[in-house]
Subunit: 79 residues, 2 copies
């Protein structure tokens, strides 16, 4: 049963308050030089049939209005 | 300025209620055959110095008590 990984990110131009909060917090902890911080979700799952994964993302895992997703299969990138 | 990606996952054995909710929801949407669903966070950022990234994860990005993290630099895996 192949394992799949889905990387879900806020779309370009969509406000990312978590990312902004991290970007502001890092200098306060002494870490300089970080920019364009974006925070998304990571979904990993075992699948019988990876062909369903795109529909799973559209309908449940991601919000296609505000998020982009990228699907990776174990050792290979399909989309 | 290199871009880095951090994959943050609940540690093995740590309860993942989001993953369980997704695993239960998928069959209800007609998607069978998914198991061991785990949901974590994805952090992507530009960095002047990637040497700081491990400490950033330990101190801000992840909770090392309950989460594992994996650092990837653009086109190469460092940890």
């Amino acid at each position: 049963m192949p394992r799949a990984r889905v990387l879900i990110r806020p779309k370009t131009g969509i406000l990312d308050p978590q990312g902004e909060a991290v970007e502001r917090a890092l200098p306060a902890l002494g870490f300089g030089g970080a920019s364009d911080v974006r925070i998304g979700r990571l979904v990993e799952l075992d699948l019988d049939d990876a062909a369903d994964l795109d529909q799973m993302c559209e309908r449940l895992l991601a919000n296609p209005l505000i998020e982009d997703y990228e699907i990776e299969l174990l050792d290979s990138v399909v989309s």
